[in-house]
Symmetry: C2
Subunit: 82 residues, 2 copies
């Protein structure tokens, strides 16, 4: 079930939107301490490759984390855990 390094997989058939599934995965990883304070999350492109999603979908997932104040995006640098 592992796909390109992603430890958790997206369920393309389920009822939960793909962007929400990814958001939950990332949220879980942050909560688990895999990405500590100030750590940089994988880039959009990396997540696209790891989870097999479109960039728009990946960005929508991260948008949710940004709205929750969990991460912060910096153009040209990356997305960082607050």
């Amino acid at each position: 079930m592992i796909t390109h390094g992603a430890r958790v997989t997206i369920d393309y058939e389920g009822e939960t939107p793909l962007w929400r599934q990814l958001a939950e995965i990332l949220r879980g990883q942050i909560a688990a301490g895999e990405y500590g304070h100030g750590a940089r999350l994988p880039s959009d492109t990396t997540l696209v490759q790891q989870y097999g999603l479109a960039r728009g979908t990946v960005r929508k997932a991260i948008d949710a984390l940004v709205t929750d104040g969990l991460v912060r995006r910096v153009q040209g640098r990356g997305t960082f855990v607050v």
Copy 2:
């Protein structure tokens, strides 16, 4: 300045993102009471036609208002002022 019924126009050349300009326009109209409490905003499609933007851009603008708690979207019905 009038374009397809839109009272305010989008500046395609300026530095302000189109989605932000539309968000400000709608915010202003709500603040001005053009759309009162419970009123329904124009549909995505209508805004697309009025302002000459892509639907994704229109939705991103409304996303901002939703995040601010200014409006609420209901699938199948519309977007309503909170």
